[in-house]
């Protein structure tokens, strides 16, 4: 054997062997593929909220079907009230607080076709708050054009006159008042979300005065659930967002272009999981940076043939990073999550988050129906179950109803599916 070749062979073998030896005995370096290790969370802060039924009290044999509620001082007497809609009798109801701490319910509209959402707004600049009602026509899945937008015109802070502003349209799930057109006389335009079923829409309706409106459809996807309004891009004009569920599972932003321009549809976030179950979208300044963020639940289970846990159900927030750009953050898991809302629940100066559950495993007594996530001030959230019973909440709002500076939570329950137990209608939760 040629001695040079032999030596080369030896050197190569040594290198190979040495290299392999090094590989075998090298100290373990941090594994870039290792699962991130979360630091241990502190014990969840103690929060105790005590329920009180307000409005029509549900008996054990009743099956309340509340679809939505809002805290609003409807008669502007300085005491926040609760307005809600329900689809058992197809009514809109006002739980008036007067005097403080005393709640009395009255029906302010009957025979509305499946009211799904209520909000209060002074549509015509009358100085009184009207009630905007989104009517689905039928709550359970249906693709027919049976939706409508009804405004309950506030005549004298006691009586309300229904006015149908839009009908024979894809099922309506949200309607809100907002001055999108820059009206100078107090008029408000309307933002309308239309779930439909296979087909749906999102539109805004320009207020022409005299209860005349001009519709502008800005998106034609099915499944719009909520359309919250805020100045998301910080230009001083209200914009609106839309949560589009069904097979899309997206959040869209419609920036207000100013006078004469057209709202442009921008997709700001979406899940690639077509079963994500988008169920609620609301505005809150989560990190208190002065920019409106979006809080967002996914837990819809209306369509499930097999009820039960979906691991992706939960709460998230979309951080407004300025100029209408958003960054997604998961907050936590919560089966059957609905109705995201925000308040400083423990008085530490940070925005905490709340959601309710309609479709948890109710055979498990440990399933939470009302959940809070306490903010550590750096948007690290610790989940705190607030209630396991009653069950099947589909709507909630947070606000200081008794004026003591501590927010209360109000929940509404939809008892459309078994088990028909632990029943409630409207519940006021006070912190102890």
């Amino acid at each position: 054997m040629n001695s040079i070749a032999t030596r080369l062979l030896i050197v190569a073998a040594l290198l190979l062997g040495g290299g392999a030896l090094w590989l075998a005995v090298r100290p373990a370096s941090p594994d870039p593929m290792a699962a991130p290790v979360e630091p241990p969370r502190p014990a969840p802060p103690s929060l105790n909220f005590v329920p009180t039924a307000i409005g029509a009290v549900a008996g054990p044999d009743d099956r309340p079907m509340v679809t939505n509620l809002q805290i609003a001082d409807l008669d502007q007497d300085g005491l926040p009230d609760v307005i809600y809609c329900e689809c058992r009798d197809n009514t809109v109801r006002w739980i008036r607080q007067a005097p403080r701490g005393v709640f009395t319910e009255q029906v302010i509209a009957r025979d509305l076709p499946a009211p799904a959402n209520v909000s209060a707004a002074d549509v015509q600049g009358s100085g009184r708050l009207d009630v905007l009602v989104a009517c689905m026509g039928q709550i359970m899945p249906n693709n027919d054009r049976i939706g409508s937008v009804v405004v309950l015109e506030n005549l004298d802070n006691r009586t309300f006159r229904p006015r149908t502003l839009l009908d024979q349209t894809a099922r309506v799930t949200d309607v809100r008042g907002a001055n999108l057109s820059g009206h100078q006389d107090g008029r408000l335009d309307l933002v309308v979300g239309q779930f439909g079923y296979a087909q749906g829409e999102t539109r805004w309706m320009k207020n022409l005065g005299g209860w005349q409106f001009e519709s502008h459809i800005v998106n034609r996807q099915s499944g719009t659930v909520h359309t919250p309004v805020a100045d998301f891009d910080g230009d001083g004009r209200p914009d609106f967002a839309a949560l589009v569920s069904q097979e899309w599972e997206e959040v869209h932003l419609f920036r207000n272009p100013g006078s004469g321009g057209e709202f442009k549809d921008e997709l700001i976030w979406g899940s690639t999981n077509e079963d994500y179950g988008s169920s609620g979208l609301a505005v809150a300044d989560v990190n208190r940076d002065g920019r409106p963020d979006l809080i967002y639940t996914n837990g819809d289970g209306f369509d499930y043939a097999v009820r039960g846990h979906r691991p992706w159900h939960g709460l998230q927030w979309l951080e407004n990073t300025g100029g209408g750009n958003f960054r997604f953050h998961r907050v936590g898991d919560f089966p059957g999550a609905y109705a995201p809302c925000a308040a400083d629940l423990n008085g530490d100066g940070f925005t905490d988050l709340v959601a309710v559950s309609c479709f948890a495993d109710w055979n498990d007594p440990q399933s939470s129906s009302l959940m809070a996530w306490i903010n550590d001030g750096r948007q690290g959230f610790t989940p705190v179950p607030l209630a396991h019973r009653p069950i099947k909440f589909v709507t909630a709002a947070a606000g200081d109803l008794d004026g003591d500076g501590v927010p209360e939570i109000v929940t509404g329950a939809l008892h459309a599916f078994p088990p028909f137990e632990h029943v409630s209608n409207i519940t006021l939760w006070r912190r102890q």
Partner: protein, 593 residues
């Protein structure tokens, strides 16, 4: 003599030396290799997750144990099997540990990244999902499923250009793929290129008419363009196409095939069934039932599917066994479907028993109350039947079927006003409930309020423009409405006839009535096509010949008129229709020679 250079032969030692070096190197290499393998084994062993604690059944436990033994022995194929089993059966933490281990050991295998992406997707961890999908397509640029998911992620986070790249890459790999086409259509739509959106959707629907998401989007674009009828049609087509289904995903199918968790199998079975993969759905329900024979849910699902497929006897057996074996209370639908299966088999006593058994455990189930009401009514127990329907409506006021059944019962009991109120209640809760709309329309027509009937039929038609029965019923209504007003308002009658013919162009009566109406209005030329259709539909009807003959005659088509009238005369004489025969004779004599 010159000194000779004497070369000494190489010593044995120097000849052996290289061999020793080689041997030494080989020994080192072998040792190192063994050491490396040992270290890898230790690494793998250390990273293999512990077996999940709460395994729902022995089958899954055995499979997991077998895979775990192999994995603990350092067999990466066994680790992959363990990962798939854990992933499919919702042991997410264990599955994630397997995928991370495999990624470390086999970083170029795309599937491990893809599976990890899927797990992170379930957890809502968007950044990790995207990172893993990028690694997937880097490892395997032909991974079409990953390209689609990646494109969707980019699209849904507003990175349109990157999304377009992903969709186009998917299309290169799977030409004509509807998901990529839909993605590109949506990009065009978001960027305001409406013509391109429409053309992409039209092309997509030409090849994939059952792709519901595209039908729905196309319908709304047509509505936006003011083509409401076309929009209605595509809305209906979209609805008929069924639910949206995710794109086929061979890698995830490998995972799903390893599902042995009964509830998840039921969930997968429902998805398969709802997306027209009934065989796969059935297999999953059967597997779930075999794994959990005392869990009533798989039996309910399988029985319901079999009933819908028309296998009533098999459905009855599965459902009855499910109740007999149930370790927990079966759902109301379980009893209801058992009763329906028995009914389909004409076994009224077992059908009755299934409902009473169900009502014992679910006294407030609207479905059971309604079905029980039907059986009570069939037994002539009218009062009890009405009470059952009313109780069902108390529990669920939007239960249109109960309203409808009660309305029928009230009509049969000669209480029409209450029946109308009941139907109106049904329509208040479900405005397009077809049965209530049809019955309400029929009642209006029977009461002579023909125009009113349209209030119920037209919404039904709008919601179901492609259903032949509803088109025919609405066409019949147009015929009746036209006949009712043709004397007072011929123009309105003509509109009704034409609207009816738009729905059922070959309807003989509508063609006849419109043709005759036009004849009366001296528009014989327009009448001819309708009367020709009428004559073709009823060639032995002398009246059809009479009308068509007159229309021909008025248009100067004398020879054709004579032929038709003569034939009609023969038919009239043969069938004894003397008056018609007389008319035919008179017209024939009046024809110019």
């Amino acid at each position: 003599m010159s000194p000779r250079t004497v070369q000494s032969p190489p010593s044995r030692r120097s000849a052996i030396r290289p061999l020793l070096w080689i041997l030494l190197a080989a020994l080192i290499a072998t040792g190192a290799l063994l050491g490396w393998r040992q270290a890898r084994l230790a690494r793998v062993r250390a990273a293999v997750p512990a077996l999940p604690a709460a395994v729902p059944n022995a089958t899954l436990r055995d499979l997991l144990t077998a895979a775990h033994v192999g994995a603990a022995g350092g067999d990466l194929a066994a680790v992959a099997e363990l990962g798939r089993l854990c992933h499919a059966n919702e042991f997410r933490a264990e599955a994630e540990a397997c995928w991370r281990l495999l990624i470390r050991e086999q970083p170029r295998e795309a599937r491990w990244h893809y599976y990890l992406a899927d797990l992170r997707r379930s957890e809502g961890d968007q950044a990790a999902v995207e990172e893993q999908l990028e690694l997937t397509v880097a490892a395997d640029p032909t991974a079409a499923a990953a390209w689609l998911r990646l494109a969707e992620m980019k699209f849904k986070s507003g990175r349109i250009d990157a999304a377009e790249t992903g969709y186009r890459r998917r299309l290169e790999l799977l030409p004509g793929d509807p998901y990529a086409e839909l993605g590109l259509a949506r990009i065009a739509q978001l960027q305001g290129r409406t013509a391109e959106t429409l053309s992409r959707l039209e092309s997509l629907l030409q090849h994939q008419p059952k792709f519901s998401a595209a039908q729905n989007l196309y319908a709304e674009l047509q509505a936006a363009a003011g083509h409401e009828d076309l929009a209605d049609l595509h809305r209906w087509l979209g609805r008929e196409a069924g639910r949206f289904r995710e794109a086929d995903d061979p890698w995830m199918q490998e995972v799903d095939a390893r599902c042995h968790e009964p509830r998840r199998l039921c969930h997968l079975g429902v998805i398969a069934y709802q997306t027209y993969q009934g065989d796969r759905g059935r297999a999953r329900f059967e597997h779930a039932l075999a794994l959990a024979p005392t869990d009533p849910l798989p039996a309910e699902m399988l029985g319901t599917l079999l009933l819908e497929l028309g296998s009533a006897a098999a459905a009855r057996d599965i459902l009855a066994n499910g109740i007999a074996r149930a370790a927990s209370t079966p759902a109301p639908l379980h009893y209801f479907n058992l009763s329906e299966a028995c009914r389909a088999l004409q076994q009224s006593e077992p059908a009755h028993r299934a409902l009473t058994d169900g009502l014992r455990v679910h006294p407030d189930s609207p479905d059971l109350l309604h079905a029980h009401g039907n059986l009570l009514k069939a037994d002539g127990r009218i009062g009890e039947a009405a009470a059952a329907y009313r109780r069902a409506l108390e529990v669920n006021p939007a239960f249109g079927e109960a309203d409808f059944a009660l309305a029928i019962l009230l009509l049969e009991s000669n209480r029409p006003d209450e029946a109308l109120r009941t139907l109106d209640h049904a329509l208040g809760m479900r405005p397009t409930f077809p049965k209530a709309l049809l019955l309400r329309a029929r009642l209006e027509m029977e009461a002579g309020r023909i125009e009113n009937a349209g209030r119920y039929l037209l919404p039904l038609l709008k919601a179901n423009p492609g259903v032949p029965e509803i088109r025919q019923i609405t066409a019949n209504w147009h015929l009746e409405a036209g006949r009712t007003i043709e004397k007072k308002n011929p123009a309105a009658a003509e509109q009704h006839y034409r609207a009816g013919l738009a729905l059922v162009p070959d309807d003989p009566d509508l063609n006849a009535d419109l043709g005759v109406q036009l004849l009366i209005m001296h528009r014989a030329e327009e009448a001819v096509p309708m009367l020709e259709i009428y004559r073709r539909a009823q060639p032995a009807n002398p009246q059809a010949a009479l009308f068509l003959g007159q229309a021909y005659a008025h248009n100067g088509r004398i020879a054709e008129a004579r032929t038709v009238l003569a034939a009609g005369l023969r038919d009239a004489e043969q069938s004894g229709q003397t008056k018609t025969a007389q008319s035919l004779r008179e017209i024939l004599t009046m024809l110019p020679k």
